[in-house]
């Protein structure tokens, strides 16, 4: 093929086909732009679809189903001993990924978005060079950088056969003993998956709390449950060395003054993610990085070079698929000359643990850090009819509002289906709702969603289903 010597021209090029990039490509195409999407992988979908959100949720659902069956014993339902066919589970998961990826590719094709395989680097302000591709390069008017992030690693764990989250999600085996380094959402979710599948899991976290960033009162519920599921849950513990020994590993840790050695058959490293901004030739395009190697953008997702946009994990903010998708739309609309802006007040965060943990808007800690005067309403699931009927009363809903105006600032939920329930809080915050708006809206009975209304009533001092303390009543 002689195509390799030619550069293809396009109006808009999107680099990266994850949940940010493919959404941006679809939206730009809908707005009448000629769009070309460069994707390095074989399949469309990025980390989220191929080795992140989607496969992990598939496995988590499987494990939850096992747990539900076990919990059903208290209702007098006995299913006998569960057995796990790992091959079939793996195949089911793969079929989920294939269907979603093919569906996305079909949408791109349907919109006339050209997908080009290859690894892109800027070699000019309006030009990309492509490697491992049929196309030598792309000349563009506008570009959207959506190259995402990759797993971070601790230096001592490199090249030692340690799993990353990507490895763990392929379900290569179910080890007897798994040691998870990192108590963030990835470590916890995968730790619980393997614990559910039968591994004896030890989790090590450097900081004094798992799930840093979430409010401690919500985390406490998860921590308690994880302690039951895991062999050991060690916070305030620093990993000093990871060594292969025989078929397994020895992980040296420091806890307080003590040095411990932990043995495991497998080690999973889940210590965060780093943005894919290196080796993109961004300097050749005039795109600036901040000190965390993230791309600086304005609220229209424009970089320092205004014809180049950046979205998702390569930009400041939480590394979450839904944030990337929203930014993708903003970037596409900005390119089309529309007055779009990423001015969202609330980016929901969800941790698919047991029970699920989700929050949106400000956390209590953030509100206090900003020096805001807030009123807080907490409603425990033990007081909720629906939670009783499903036998899952661990958890609570928390509502944070401005003390003077009752403006809703944040919602935190630790409850079954918190991932679904949190949407109401996000909409309410985006709309500028007050506690009154929340509590005067009818919530269906009996459902878990009532807990949001109830927590709002506690904050407003008008709750009927809990005893309200004097101090709350006054506020």
């Amino acid at each position: 093929m002689v195509m390799g010597s030619l550069k293809q021209e396009t109006e808009v090029v999107v680099i990266g086909g994850g949940p940010g990039g493919y959404v941006a490509a679809l939206r730009a195409a809908d707005l009448g732009k000629e769009v070309l999407l460069v994707e390095q992988r074989e399949a469309i979908g990025g980390v989220c679809l191929l080795e992140g959100c989607i496969p992990s949720k598939t496995l988590i659902h499987a494990v939850e189903t096992l747990q539900l069956a076990a919990d059903a014993k208290q209702m007098g339902l006995n299913f006998g001993k569960a057995s796990i066919d790992a091959d079939k589970l793996r195949a089911f998961k793969q079929s989920v990924l294939d269907k979603l990826s093919q569906g996305t590719a079909a949408l791109l094709k349907n919109r006339g978005v050209e997908v080009v395989r290859g690894r892109a680097r800027f070699d000019g302000a309006h030009s990309l060079a492509l490697e491992h591709s049929d196309v030598a390069g792309v000349e563009f008017k506008h570009a959207i950088v959506a190259t995402g992030s990759r797993v971070a690693s601790l230096p001592m764990a490199e090249d030692a056969g340690v799993w990353s989250s990507t490895d763990a999600l392929t379900l290569p085996e179910i080890p007897a003993r798994l040691l998870v380094i990192g108590g963030g959402y990835i470590g916890l979710e995968l730790g619980l998956v393997y614990a559910g599948l039968g591994s004896a899991v030890t989790l090590v976290e450097l900081l004094p709390q798992i799930l840093t960033g979430a409010d401690p009162d919500l985390v406490r519920v998860v921590h308690k449950r994880c302690k039951k599921r895991f062999e050991q849950l060690l916070v305030d513990t620093k990993v000093t060395a990871v060594e292969r020994r025989g078929d397994g590993f020895v992980v040296s840790v420091k806890r307080g003054g003590d040095a411990l050695e932990l043995e495991a058959d497998r080690v999973l490293m889940a210590v965060g993610r780093v943005p894919n901004t290196d080796d993109l030739g961004l300097d050749k395009a005039g795109v600036a990085l901040d000190d965390k190697r993230l791309i600086e953008i304005d609220d229209g997702c424009r970089t320092r070079a205004p014809h180049i946009h950046a979205i998702g994990d390569v930009t400041p903010g939480p590394m979450l698929a839904h944030k990337a998708s929203r930014q993708g739309k903003v970037a596409a609309e900005t390119i089309a000359g529309e007055p779009a802006a990423f001015d969202n007040r609330a980016i929901p965060a969800v941790v698919f643990v047991e029970p699920e943990l989700a929050w949106t808007g400000l956390t209590e800690a953030e509100a206090k850090q900003e020096g805001r005067r807030v009123k807080i309403g907490r409603f425990p699931l033990t007081a909720l009819g629906r939670a009783r009927t499903i036998g899952r009363t661990d958890g609570l809903v928390k509502v944070i509002a401005d003390e003077q105006s009752d403006l809703l600032l944040g919602v935190g939920i630790v409850a079954p289906h918190a991932s679904e329930l949190i949407a109401e809080g996000t909409l309410a915050i985006e709309m500028g709702a007050t506690l009154e708006d929340l509590t005067a809206s009818i919530h269906p009975h009996p459902t878990l969603s009532e807990a949001i209304m109830e927590a709002g009533e506690v904050a407003a001092g008008s709750a009927v289903h809990v005893a309200v303390s004097k101090s709350q009543r006054r506020s």
Partner: protein, 444 residues
């Protein structure tokens, strides 16, 4: 022909640009009294001036809302007056207010100085100063962007200050005043310290002074509150720099004293300084400007309205000499005198206090050698005049007595630099020190 008695509801009319409320000073009538059309009804003091509001209709006063010291809101019904033939016969039956309003509408729009019916309803003010993002639905925020508006400047009528679609449309049509970064009207903070978001800066509650001795408290209202707001805003928002210099006004003083008038209208130094400043502003336009921090723009004004700080029984106000560039020194002098008298007597009108582009504060006659004045926000600079008095000065190696006027120019360093201020000050000092050259060269 018979005209039925109707009740006219008098709403507090628009008191001028940006004024939404005023403090009731005194009623000119009592309930039951008959008032003529255009006769004084009530005195109201706003943040800017005291005004006497005439009655737009003649009739019998049925009701007066509020007493001295109360805060009245523009658009609020402050009096009910029975009009028509029935008023004389003191018929007690009051017609429904809606009817009264409709029937009195023509009289309303002709007689009232500022017809109440024309005042758009004022939205509920936000509960407090805005913190963080403005509460507004995503579609409303988008609408604001489409109209090229900064949603942070749009006052919200909804609960918790939520900005509605209608608020954005009304703001776009010019019907709403922008939200400024001033403190809220209500006494904020409650009991604890109010965090400011600035490290180490917290407004702590006042200690209980009464434990150390007797105290008296008085609410901060009207002009005092306006002054407090304006100067706090100025000091927090504007990076102030002050440049000091002396003008040798010996010759100017000789010239000035040749004027024969000896009464209150005699020439003071101030009109000379107003004129000289005006000329300097023409040459150095950055001192006749305002910086819009929201839009990141400097607004250069091509008119020269010079405000001068006046000490009145009600507090500090700043009357404005308009178009000083088009007026002679003697005209400026007369205007300053008239404005000062009006200010002293509480007769100053809102329009006399608006539109200044530069302010002079002349503390000299009251005492004090020098002062560092605070900029009259949103202007860029202010000139402080100290006391002109004889001083020993070295001239040609000899110590001689000269009349020295100390001057301080405080300016906004965001707009002007030290070198600009030095050039500006030199131009001013040159004029005041060498009046012959200046006045001979003066145009227009």
């Amino acid at each position: 022909m018979t005209e039925e008695a109707t009740v006219f509801e008098f709403k507090l009319p628009d008191l001028g640009e940006g004024i939404h409320e005023g403090e009731l000073l005194t009623w000119h009538v009592e309930i039951g009294q008959v008032i003529d059309e255009d006769a004084p009804l009530v005195d109201v003091e706003t943040d800017k001036a005291a005004v006497t509001i005439p009655s737009p209709v003649g009739g019998k006063v049925l009701e007066l809302v509020g007493s001295a010291g109360d805060t009245l809101t523009v658009g609020e019904v402050i009096a009910r007056i029975e009009t028509g033939d029935g008023a004389a016969s003191a018929a007690p039956a009051a017609a429904p207010p809606a009817v009264a309003q409709r029937e009195s509408a023509p009289a309303d729009s002709e007689a009232a100085p500022a017809p109440a019916a024309m005042v758009p309803p004022q939205p509920a003010a936000p509960a407090g100063p805005r913190r963080g993002p403005v509460p507004a639905a995503p579609a409303t925020r988008r609408l604001a962007r489409e109209l090229g508006l900064d949603i942070a400047q749009i006052p919200g009528s909804g609960p918790a200050g939520r900005v509605t679609r209608e608020d954005v449309q009304r703001f776009a049509a010019g019907g709403l005043e922008p939200v400024t970064a001033v403190a809220p009207d209500d006494e904020s903070a409650g009991t604890g310290a109010a965090p400011s978001g600035i490290p180490f800066f917290e407004l702590e509650p006042m200690p209980d002074f009464s434990q150390y001795g007797a105290i008296e408290t008085k609410p901060v209202r009207s002009i005092r509150r306006k002054v407090a707001r304006k100067l706090a805003t100025s000091m927090i928002v504007v990076p102030h720099v002050a440049l000091m210099d002396d003008a040798d006004v010996t010759e100017l003083e000789v010239f000035r004293r040749r004027e024969r008038r000896t009464d209150e209208r005699r020439l003071s130094l101030l009109p000379f300084v107003v004129k000289a400043i005006t000329e300097c502003l023409k040459e150095h336009r950055m001192f006749n400007a305002s910086l819009d921090p929201q839009r990141e723009e400097i607004i250069y004004k091509q008119f020269y309205n010079i405000g001068f700080a006046a000490d009145t029984p009600r507090g500090l106000i700043v009357p404005v000499v308009r178009d000083a560039d088009k007026k002679s020194i003697i005209e400026i002098s007369a205007e300053i005198y008239e404005l000062a008298v009006k200010a002293r007597d509480g007769k100053i009108e809102v329009k006399d206090l608006q539109g200044s582009t530069f302010t002079i504060t002349n503390i000299g006659p009251l005492g004090g050698t020098r002062l560092v004045p605070t900029i009259n926000y949103p202007e860029v600079a202010i000139l402080g005049m100290g006391r002109a008095k004889p001083q020993p000065v070295v001239r040609d190696g000899q110590i001689v007595a000269r009349t020295i006027l100390p001057l301080t120019l405080a300016f906004d360093h965001r707009v002007a630099d030290g070198a600009d201020s030095a050039r500006f000050m030199s131009a001013l000092v040159r004029r005041l020190s060498d009046p012959l050259d200046w006045l001979l060269a003066m145009k227009g």
